[in-house]
Amino acid sequence: MTDLLSYEFMRNALAASILASILCGVIGPFVVTRKMVFAGGSMSHSAFGGMGIACWLGLNPLAGALAFTVLAALFLSAAGRRSTEENDLLIGVLWAVGMALGIVFIHITPGYVPDLMSFLFGNILLVPRGDLVLAAVLTAVVTVSVIVFFRGFVSIALDEEFARSRKMPVKGLHTGLLVLVALAIVTLIQVVGIILVLALLTIPVAVAREFTIRFTRLMILSSVTGILLCIGGLAVSFTMNLPSGAAIILLGALLLGAVKAFRFFRK
């Protein structure tokens, strides 16, 4: 392990794993309990549009992803309707349009876009120092915001109608939460890529909720699970020469299956 850490790319990968794991715990439980999983999916896929435009303009793709995911969050909040069907429709449209924009702009970008596969499936071993700094800033912003607005977020995730009756700013809190999910997604994209982000926001939470009934403990346990998965996946990826994002997610799926099986046979 010490030998591995002598490589800068491995140190960066480890730092990115830890940051991603913190976000798994801080924001994942809200995504799951507030039923925002597919809203998160549409935001992460819309990031591809931002990355494509950023590549075409010669900018850092992560800056494009950041702009597009935040815009997608604001759009979902502003255009959100009362009915689940209409919201589903919006989420689906945003999801597909984001991907389509990304494909078009990458297609018209002159020359070869080497990071295309990293955008889609992530490559934790190729996280540059600059992106790591951005990820650290985003993780800090998300974590501090969740601590400050914690009671508000819990209230709307538990019972939105009751929260309204207590004069909580439900719409503002919902928008804020969507924006924080967007910021988290930008960090997680570096680890597992656009397509697998959903898994990293949900699998650690699904594992952790088998062991606790308290929301704060769920957040901590989800982070710990995230760290185990990211570092474990990293090791598997390194030793077996497999794509890191996929290795992390499959390891998570195995862990979730094992936990569920343990629970089932213990009953």
Binding site: P29, R151, G152, D159, E161, R166, K167, M168, I213, R214
Partner: protein, 251 residues
């Protein structure tokens, strides 16, 4: 008795479709009002207007004092509550103390005492560490009432509180509300007024418009004329079929 809330000729709807038109009502201290009416008639909407969740298109909801806005307890319909949320009974009841004015500050030490007191009152203190998901329907209903009461309201609104609980739990709920009514006003939206038959003071019929009746003002003949259909009575003066046409005296 002192007036707590006056609803003055309010009209409200969703989109272009009016749900309530020209509704007027006064809720007094320690009143006990049953709100009945068909689905889509505007019962829940009326509660949301009084609670300030929705703003009327016209008319006004006038509170006796502005401080009353923080002292209205609400038990929403069962379906609005996220039953799978990972939270203990104690913490869930504690969320009743979070308001738009204090959600950015940490909870106070005295809050714990208030939550414990309320859990004792609804008979759930022993269950305080259990997960909300593991409560029975009746226990969850009591926990939701405790959440509504923990902020010490003078007016308690319950939306379909008997919808998902068994007969024993209904009796417990009714007895608990009787007890609360010695201190606070209670407004219950229900499709089934039967459990509250012995204790209500007024019945509000809501179907676009509203009609308030005092206790004993409705008999079977009146009801058949008002509803335009035979109405099943249980011998205590309250129908438990759905409201149809209604031409009763408005108050």
């Amino acid at each position: 008795m002192k007036s707590l809330v006056r609803i003055e000729n309010i009209t409200f709807g969703y989109g272009d479709h009016p749900v309530l038109e020209g509704v007027t009502l006064e809720i007094m201290e320690r009143d006990y009002i049953l709100v009945i009416g068909p689905n889509g008639g505007g019962k829940t909407t009326l509660l949301k207007l009084v609670l300030g969740i929705e703003k009327p298109w016209s008319g006004a909801v006038v509170l006796a004092e502005e401080s009353l806005r923080e002292r209205m307890g609400y038990v929403p319909q069962y379906a609005t509550f996220n039953r799978n949320f990972p939270i203990s009974v104690f913490d869930m009841v504690g969320t009743g103390l979070i308001t738009g004015g204090n959600y950015l500050s940490p909870g106070k030490q005295s809050d714990r005492g208030r939550v414990e007191e309320m859990l004792h009152k609804v008979g759930l203190y022993e269950k305080r560490r259990e997960r909300v998901t593991d409560l029975s329907g009746g226990q969850l209903q009591r926990a939701l009432i405790a959440r509504a009461l923990v902020a010490d309201p003078v007016l308690l609104f319950l939306d379909e509180p008997t919808a998902s609980i068994d007969i024993t739990a209904r009796t417990t709920l009714r007895e608990f509300l009787d007890d609360m009514n010695s201190r606070i006003a209670v407004v219950v939206v229900t499709h089934d007024p039967t459990p509250f038959a012995r204790v209500y003071k007024h019945i509000l019929c809501v179907n676009g418009k509203s009609f308030l009746h005092g206790r004993g003002e409705l008999d079977s003949q009146d009801l058949e004329a008002l509803y335009g259909c035979p109405v099943e009575l249980l011998g205590h003066g309250i129908p438990h079929t759905l409201l149809r046409e209604h031409d009763g005296g408005e108050r």
